[in-house]
Amino acid sequence: MERAPIPSPTLHSGIKWGPTGPIAACLKNFHSPQLACLRQPRRSQRFTPVGRKNPCPPRPNGIAPAYGNIQGAEQSYPWGAGVPESKPGNFDFRRWDPSPVNAFPENKSESGVVGQLGNGWEWTSSPFDAVPRISSLRLLSRLLREFLRWQALRNQGRVPRAVRPASCAAPSAMVSTALPIRLRRIPLRFRVRRGMPRAAMQTRPSPSSLTSRFALEVSAASPRPGTKGMPSKYLYDSVGSALFEVICALRNTASREPKNACFNCTPGKSWTTSSPCRCAELGSGTGRKTRLLLEALSRWQSTWYHPIEISPTALAVLRRELRDINSISIVGFEREYLDGLREVAARRTSTEHLLVLSSAVTIGQFRWRRRLGLSSRSASDSSARGLSYARHRHAQARKNIDLRLR
């Protein structure tokens, strides 16, 4: 395995930007190169609002660890009361070389969870691949979602209990960081790992090659003198994708709810076609907004739907969410807009119509419009084409939609 230098230790020492309090602690974990490792708690010690009878008293900061051993007593660390040292895990980066799964049998959980790992791809020599029902990305997004739910409860004066994560690859100072998780929704089986052949091990690109690529991209994407721009694809690593999913959820439930609600097509505005159609969407996200349109299309003909999205997490969710629509074949592209459109165009036959969709965010980005040779009509012009978002329920919207491709 290629050896890479340990990232800046300052990453682990009090990142206080943005949110404060528990969410900062939560994000501090995500900004460290490892995921939290969890220990299976007793049922009585799961995520429970304070005020109910619970054997674990809340801590002064309002968060009580849900850790407990089989006897129901609270313990300081997943492995008991011992301080973090090399025996239960690789704390404080005492070594970089990964160890295989089950290299520390002493860390076997009393509850039967074995092979506890702080971070599979880093702490062990086994790749951190998806296990049944949950992947690392889904876990990350779930953690964030659970945190937001926990924060909402706290705002209501109900402080839920939290589980204290402890990564075996984490600095010991992070071990006591509280992170709220509703464990009944998160299978802990992700901690149990199977040995994988060494050939399947994941490796990191060398920092020098990444640096040069970053530098090239930065210089090529400077929108204005004195301003540094970066290609959006760099925003969507595992952490960024999880955060983006939370952002989408926040916007859909708050200020941008109308966008999520439905398409409300002006009655009488219709498109019909007798030939096959390919529908490409720029920045599809998780496809929630497009469902109604696709359902309408599917009533008339079989359609190829090509979501073009830079976030692999969003694409995976989209495939899962839209797979129940009949007559729609989904082939997504994890590309930037123009690259994705080129892929779609290459698959298009001479008899096929191509419908390109863009949502609110992409309409405002005119650079790609010019590169596509489109007119420079304003965003309001675009919205004036007879389509607008409105606060309609899906059932009502379905009555209004009469979409045919001509």
Binding site: S8, W17, L243, I363, G364, S380, Y389
Partner: protein, 87 residues
């Protein structure tokens, strides 16, 4: 080509792209954090502020990371030192 949007009040747009919880800020700052993580740089994230602006000319929201002070970032992989001006 079909573009769909509804022009919303600026206040609504800004609150959507600069949410009070700070998740959008975390999303953008994660870019610098990623450079730190993967390239071994040492951007001080606390010295960057997340700024969301509505550009009326293009009807779009721009998000920026504004440096709170003049600072230097070291990139061990390329031996570069990148200066970041305040603002």
């Amino acid at each position: 080509m079909l573009g769909i949007d509804m022009l919303k009040p600026e206040k609504t747009l800004i609150s959507a792209y600069d949410d009070p919880i700070g998740v959008t800020a975390a999303f953008n700052l994660n870019l610098l954090a990623r450079i730190n993580r993967e390239l071994g740089a040492d951007f001080n994230l606390q010295q960057f502020a997340h700024v969301a602006l509505f550009n009326e000319a293009t009807h779009s929201v721009e998000m920026h990371l504004r440096s709170r002070s003049r600072q230097e970032s070291h990139h061990p992989g390329s031996l570069h030192i990148r200066s970041v001006r305040k603002g």
